[in-house]
Amino acid sequence: MASDTLSLKIEFGGGLELLFSNIRSHKITLPHLVPIDNSMDGTSHVPSSSTPPSATDGDKPIKTKPADVTYLMHYLRDNLLKERAELFMENGTVRPGILVLINDTDWELEGEGEYELKDGDEIVFISTLHGG
């Protein structure tokens, strides 16, 4: 395996960047395999660590899945978001009215949250809810 991490480019627009320190463009690194329940356990220290993909937490193995967009949203909420999480996520997905593009394609054509992230992917989140 070449690498067990993914480098991603994240963009926020349409006012959504205000929830993320008013920074539109972010570069992040995610592990290839992530907890199936999208929890951050065992991943907060991952970028630099050499923890094997099927890490164990004490003697309890954590079930993993390939990192997908749903995991990415949880990661962004728990690590980059600075305020009002309810304006970003609702019921385990983006709040209705937020558009998601995966490599400049509507995520509805790419499997939405189930899309498996690849190294170098560019994910854009745009709020449609601000101002006319």
């Binding site: 209705p96 394609t105 499997g111 006319g132």
Partner: protein, 352 residues
């Protein structure tokens, strides 16, 4: 997932799923169908005629920015023969409107259209910042809405245009239909879905994006890399509209056609409303000449309340009676310059 090819040209990779139809289409086909549908909306409703002077109500936000771009594109492509202007209202909100006006000024350069900015301060002698510092954040949207409506008409009169187009989209209209239903406001329900409205002596107003989904407007702006401003108004506590919007977005997530369906419902109500059109007859405001359903127009009533330190006078009946009981308006009170729709209004001096 294998990338689907475009349902229209069958050649390029699809980049968008249309909320209205579910069709998966490529970028070029998307631009083309989006623009063509707006063109059809315009021609079906016969909104313009050759030589019309049209002001685009421009806030710097996504809808009016995309509208300016599309109006220019269609005017060139189909030779509408329109003279286009940008008209912006400066409510005087520091950190919000001053920033978005910068966007409008860039649009003026990009689209090569004359721009007129009319401020509340210039017209009413009050900025929204000053209003909020007097009345607080509770009813300020009432002031802003009434003042903006009249300011747009007056700005249009100054530009001597025949018509104002605004960026209201299908989502906005569906949201307003829902709000009017929830409030039981049947008279407004029919009116809010009309594509074009015209009062006795006011300028025509219309909504070329009446059938355009917000999702497509935002996608259009994104793919065309249009420059727009997207910050929430700092004084906007319109919780009711916020709830209506959240509800509509939930409906749309379950069934994308919900937005158009709601607009069609609103239009269906309109027919029956004409049967019992028992609305107040329009007259002109005795103080400022603007159209009104009472002796004083709403803006003059609100302004008088502000000037006399009784800002609730136009919000509640009780407060209005109290103000009337406290005597006539003082002579030295600031008022709005007289409105004459046929000729440009002279510049207004802002009393200090």
């Amino acid at each position: 997932m294998a990338p689907a090819s475009c349902a229209l040209c069958k050649m390029s990779k699809a980049i968008l799923k249309r909320p209205k139809t579910g069709q998966q289409i490529c970028k070029d086909c998307f631009f083309y169908v989006f623009e063509t549908e707006v063109h059809h909306t315009i021609t079906t409703a016969k909104l313009f005629k050759q030589g019309d002077k049209v002001a685009i109500g421009a806030s710097g936000g996504k809808d009016s920015t995309v509208l300016a771009h599309v109006m220019k594109t269609l005017n060139d492509r189909y030779q509408y023969g329109l003279e286009l202007f940008l008209l912006s209202i400066d409510e005087g909100i520091t950190g919000y409107r001053d920033d978005s006006l910068e966007t409008v000024k860039r649009n003026q350069q990009q689209y090569d259209m004359p721009l007129k900015i009319l401020s509340y301060d210039e017209l009413y002698g009050w900025t929204m910042d000053a209003i909020v510092s007097q009345i607080g954040k509770k009813n300020n949207c009432t002031f802003c809405g009434v003042f903006r409506r009249q300011a747009l008409d007056r700005g249009a009169a100054m530009l001597d245009v025949d018509h104002i187009v605004t960026g209201h989209n299908a989502d906005d209209i569906a949201e307003t239909v829902l709000m009017n239903i929830m409030r039981g406001d049947i008279a407004r329900l029919g009116r809010c879905t009309m594509i074009c409205t015209q009062g006795e002596d006011t300028i025509k107003r219309s909504k070329p994006f009446k059938y355009a989904y917000e999702k497509e407007i935002v996608m259009y702006a994104y793919f065309k890399k249009l420059d727009y401003f997207s910050t929430e108004c700092i004084y906007s506590p319109d919780a009711y509209r916020g709830h209506a919007r959240a509800f509509l977005k939930d409906l749309e997530a379950a069934r994308p056609s919900a937005i158009i369906d709601i607009i069609h419902s609103g239009e269906a109500f309109e027919v029956r409303e004409e049967v019992k059109a028992a609305q107040k007859t329009q007259q002109t405001c005795i103080r400022c000449g603007y159209m009104s359903s009472n002796e004083l127009c709403k803006a003059c009533t609100l302004l008088e309340g502000l000037e006399r330190g009784m800002a609730n006078s136009a919000i509640t009946e009780r407060a209005r009676k109290k103000m009337e009981a406290s005597g006539p308006a003082p002579n030295n009170m600031r008022s709005i310059p007289f409105f004459q729709s046929s000729q440009p209004i002279l510049a207004v001096e802002a009393p200090s």
